[in-house]
């Protein structure tokens, strides 16, 4: 088997590329090498289907000449391939035209190390052990009700990266992650009971594999007997997995160049109130042992806690150095670098919605007729802000009680109308990856398209 203790040298190819770049007539540049080792066990049909291991590595070079950008990457770290990659990026930068918005790359900065981002148990995990964890999920489903057909799996990743820029930034990263997902499907004649449950984290002990299986089975059985309902305008309660899509949509719309160049529905919302005062969102890339934490962002800027929405108002956009340069502000440390392929943009880290003072049970109990949405994506058209979403999993509420699952139902509207309509936020919610926190929320009314 591949020796997992054997550490691939990342620094040498980076330094080789940087040395070569320093001999060229360029403005600024950065070089990133990343390595990852991932294991996965896939589930299909009656259970475990396949065991997969991958080793990936590559080098990405980003070069600016007269404010024009050239990017090249290669999956080979051989000296000749590193040289060709540098040459390609450099020649492309010379063909690219000046980007008037580009102000430069950040310089070095010191940051306190965020602890707990690498789990040695994941680094040394074997496929046999991983398949045992998958079995725990399956057994937990079968304990609730045997005979399901499955889709899902478990994946672990151990990644290392090394970034060096011509502006003096130089740092190495190391991180682990684990994700688990199981979707059991039960059938009773033509009726289908199907749902899913998942979790992801930095370390194995954070994931409750039996709990995932049990919850997935219970949710799947709850889906039997789904019915169509009439079109109408109803109050809607979103559970945390649906609240998260609402929040990711907003955070994407206030991130980076699309936000500051006026290309999203939220571009004009900086400093404006978009929701009632009960609604607040923090973004914190420094939470110890959390899935979206890191010491530095993708450009070497220290991560931080950012108050994004306070008392219903958007206080700041999330910036990398490029968008910060356009806005004339300091970067907020939200640059995201997609491995060695040279894509750098801004995006959120750990999204933490402030808990409210209601509860999911109270929200349901006080709803005469409404819809409980346990899964739907409210990701809007990022330009117009309008959405038209299928309610993938939901329940009709009547007389303060959950009645039956719904099907063939859509919700439509403008995402900012949804935010304005948030009238309750629950005190309890779901922590994901030890970093994100999403509560349940109640929206006063949403237009629904059904029978």
């Amino acid at each position: 088997m591949t020796n997992l203790k054997e550490k691939t040298d990342l620094a040498t190819p980076v330094e080789r590329a940087v040395r070569l770049l320093s001999t060229m007539d360029l403005d600024v540049s950065d070089v990133c090498v990343s390595f990852s080792r991932s294991l996965s066990i896939s589930l299909l049909g009656r259970g475990i289907k396949e065991a997969v291991s991958r080793t990936d590595l590559g080098i990405g070079v980003r070069v600016y000449k007269n404010k024009g950008m050239g990017v090249a990457f290669s999956q080979s770290l051989e000296p000749a391939d590193v040289e060709k990659t540098v040459q390609r990026a450099s020649s492309f930068a010379k063909v690219a035209q000046p980007d008037p918005y580009f102000k430069g790359l950040p310089g070095p900065a010191k940051a306190s190390e965020v602890p707990g981002l690498c789990d040695s148990e994941i680094v040394s995990l074997t496929l046999e052990q991983a398949s045992g964890l998958c079995r725990k999920m399956i057994e937990a489903v079968e304990d609730v009700r045997p005979g399901a057909m499955y889709l899902g799996g478990l994946g672990t990743n151990h990644s290392r990266g090394y970034l060096m820029t011509s502006t003096g930034v130089c740092f190495e990263t190391e991180k682990t992650s684990v994700s688990a997902y199981i979707a059991p499907t039960f059938r009773e004649g033509d009726d289908v009971g199907s749902s899913y449950e998942y979790d992801y984290a930095i370390s194995l002990p954070e994931v409750d594999f039996e709990g995932i299986g049990k919850k997935a089975a219970e949710k799947a059985l709850d889906q039997f007997g789904s019915k169509r309902i009439e079109s109408g305008v109803l109050p809607v309660i979103l559970t945390p997995d649906s609240t998260s899509s609402l929040c990711f949509g907003l955070m994407g719309a206030i991130s980076g160049e699309v936000a500051v160049k006026g290309r999203t529905f939220a571009s004009g919302c900086l400093g404006k109130q978009i929701a009632r005062q009960i609604f607040e969102i923090d973004d914190d890339g420094t939470v110890p042992s959390a899935i979206a934490s890191s010491t530095y962002d993708g450009e070497g800027v220290p991560r931080r806690l950012t108050k994004v929405v306070s008392k219903g108002s958007i206080l700041t956009f999330l910036h990398d150095s490029y968008s910060a340069g356009i806005a004339g502000v300091e970067t907020t440390g939200h640059a995201q670098r997609m491995g060695y392929r040279g894509y750098v943009g801004a995006g959120p880290t750990n999204i933490r919605v402030r808990p409210g003072d209601s509860s999911l049970d109270e929200m349901i109990a006080e709803t005469k007729r409404g819809l409980l949405v346990t899964y739907a994506s409210f990701f809007p058209n990022m330009v117009s802000g309008e959405f038209s979403s299928t309610i993938d999993e939901g329940f009709l509420i009547e007389g303060g009680e959950k009645r039956h699952p719904v099907k063939n139902l859509m919700a439509g509207g403008h995402i900012l109308e949804l935010y304005k309509g948030i009238e309750l936020v629950s005190k309890e919610g779901r922590i994901i990856g030890k970093g994100h926190f999403f509560p349940s929320i109640k929206v006063s009314e949403v237009k629904l398209a059904g029978r």
Partner: protein
Amino acid sequence: MRDLLESIVQEGLTAGARFCEARFFEERNNSISIENGIARTLRSGILRGVGIRVIVARRWGFASTNMPTMGSARRTLEDAIGGGKSIATQVGEEAEIVEAKPEVETVSHKVKMNPEDVSPEEKVKRMLEIEKVARTYGDRVKDTFVTYRDVLTKVAVCNSFGTSIEETTPRTYAYCSVIAKEGENMQIGFEYVGNVAGYEIVDSVQPEEFSGKAAKKAVNLLGAQPPPRGTYTIVVDQRVGGLFIHEAFGHNSEGDLVFGGQSIISDKVGHKVASDLVTIIDDPTKPRNGHFVYDHEGTKAEPHLIVKDGTLVGFLHSLESAAKLGDEPKGSARAQSHHYPPIIRMSNTYVASGDMTFEEALEDVDLGVYLSGSQYGYVETQKGQFTCKAEQAWLIEKGELTDYLRDVAINGLTLDALKNVTAVSKDFMMEMPGMCGKGEQGMYVDAGAPHLRVEGIVVGGRR
């Protein structure tokens, strides 16, 4: 490279594998991003490596490496064998596979203009010409984006049936999106072309019909209304029809989802699943974006008839699903790169032409919605519930197109929707080159249809 792959296959068998497959993958891509008249970024990348798949102890093991050397491939083979053994005692799907006919061939798709022969400067000049038409369309045009991309993919597959094939496929794409703004109202329009082709596909673009059309859509959408909501008769154009059939039915016909209990049509072979007007075919031999000669298991591709005159007649197969479902493989297994095992994918999926005209499809509709241009879609195959999002739409009133509509999405139930197809026109078109996501893999596909009329579809809207 095929020598290395063949050696690894032999070593896999010697090490106890019942089946061994070694696959080399290389992808070279170049792209140019134009934004508001500036060629802002030029990119280039090379992906290269080997993926090895085995059946050992009656289970599948797969491993991959970026280093296509003998030493690294041997370690990867050990990982794949170790993987299969690691799950040997676990409850689950045992590996089965049909005995495949060995194929030995080298295929290289020809192009009229090799993108490598066109300089980056020349490509930038051409894309700027295309972009300028959008930027100068009118003063409500706020932002313009044009992207060029060429991809050259080489796949070599050797397996223990004696197959040794290599296929080199060039693909070229151009994409234009335009944001138009009026007050607080912002809308986006886009156009795209792409195929298994060379630079000729970009060279032949008529800017007014491409970027000019994207700009026109964005500006026109500023005056569009939100759609009504509820259950309507819909008529869809060829792109929405292609998306509809890909999502509503195509994924359900993928053999792995069928034997894995994830398809709503798994027990419906020989049964009516659609109206008599509907015939559905997936054809990788058509020279469209999903075209290939050999799939990534080395099976020679053939057209697959899935639904004939409304009756389900077959599924899409890999070597495994053909064994488990008792059918012949016709080449539907592909992998995104060396890092992924082949899984069953659609190629060029379409609804065959009928005999009506578009006008005839509209004329019986008292109140409905006409959808045009595909954006995206998804399906929950196990439930048979799908969603498709269109670029633009019109209200149909008494057979005529009236109000112009924006942000229209539809939802339906697979088994109901296809039985409710009441018109299929004769104006077939397949022009939806794109990527389809399944699991964690993306894959080149295309889809098409004539105009279709479907009753009883939910239209999501704000009115």
